[in-house]
Symmetry: C2
Subunit: 185 residues, 2 copies
């Protein structure tokens, strides 16, 4: 007998993979739960019961992606942690996820969004704060969470949004500036 | 007899106003050129000839908005110019335009976008560079255009995207940081 948790995780994985495969062929606006059911081999009834709507499913895919694409590192130095984190964010903003993240941000505006994304962002904020606290505990000059968001995350998202010659948004350069600011404070 | 330029501008204005009014009632995905024709009193044939598609019309509305919402000031000091510009950007990222700007960024990804937005952004970059050049000519310590984009524009967009308690993205605080960086360089 399979553990329910294991089966649930496998279903979620198969459904997410089907969504990502379909998004390579069509826009998210054309996506439907029946199409996801057919591609994933998961029953439509399961999809409707678990996610209810395409937007909720897309939010779940984005939430999972944000969590996986930029795992929070613990390298022993703030420099190492920030470089690894920023590079992960930059990677995570490429491909089909770039549009999905924008869509999630748009949907949330209309008040019709699911809490999936905001939940992930809140969790991520706590994790980043812990990363900065660890650095401060080691005696390193650490920036605030707002400074990390404004000087590193925001430019990476801005360049992903509006396009930019490759390499212009070098994550390491943004981390350099953040650490200089923290050292000067 | 009316000058063609005057009539063209009036038609564009009426159509843009109709789009903005309709966006208060429905999402841009539900927008149609016939609905815009009915609301604006402009013939459908004119809309199809001039804009061809809803996305092209939306890009035109965004381009006009970006140009108008943040006119580039010339106050005589870099501090004055940057404060006025940043406050204008922050204001421009509220209301229906927030979603329209995100949509424009998403559409451009798919390769199906019109050049309206990228044209405006290129023009805006040139104007910002002139603003910084004027400051340098006056002997002020001026940041680079990339620094202005990364330290002021990017955080304002990031907060508009992902929401934030009111006041958190105080434009003046971002300008302070940019000017401190320029003074230290």
């Amino acid at each position: 007998m399979q553990r329910p948790g294991g089966r649930t995780a496998r279903v979620r994985n198969a459904v997410h993979e089907a969504v990502i495969a379909l998004l390579a062929e069509q826009s998210w606006e054309e996506l439907s739960l029946p199409a996801v059911a057919e591609r994933s081999g998961v029953h439509q009834a399961t999809l409707y019961r678990r996610w209810r709507t395409v937007p909720a499913l897309l939010d779940d895919v984005v939430a999972e992606h944000l969590t996986r694409a930029a795992p929070l590192p613990d390298t022993g130095t703030l420099r190492g942690d920030l470089d690894a984190y920023a590079a992960g964010v930059a990677r995570g903003l490429t491909g089909p996820f770039r549009v999905l993240i924008l869509r999630a941000a748009m949907v949330d505006t209309g008040g019709a969004g699911t809490p999936a994304l905001s939940g992930v962002l809140a969790q991520r904020s706590r994790q980043l704060q812990e990363m900065l606290d660890r650095a401060r505990d080691r005696g390193e000059a650490a920036p605030t969470l707002d400074e990390l968001v404004e000087l590193v995350l925001a430019p990476l998202y801005f360049y992903a949004l509006f396009g930019r010659p490759a390499g212009a948004a070098d994550p390491r350069r943004l981390v350099d500036r953040l650490l200089e600011l923290a050292a000067a404070a």
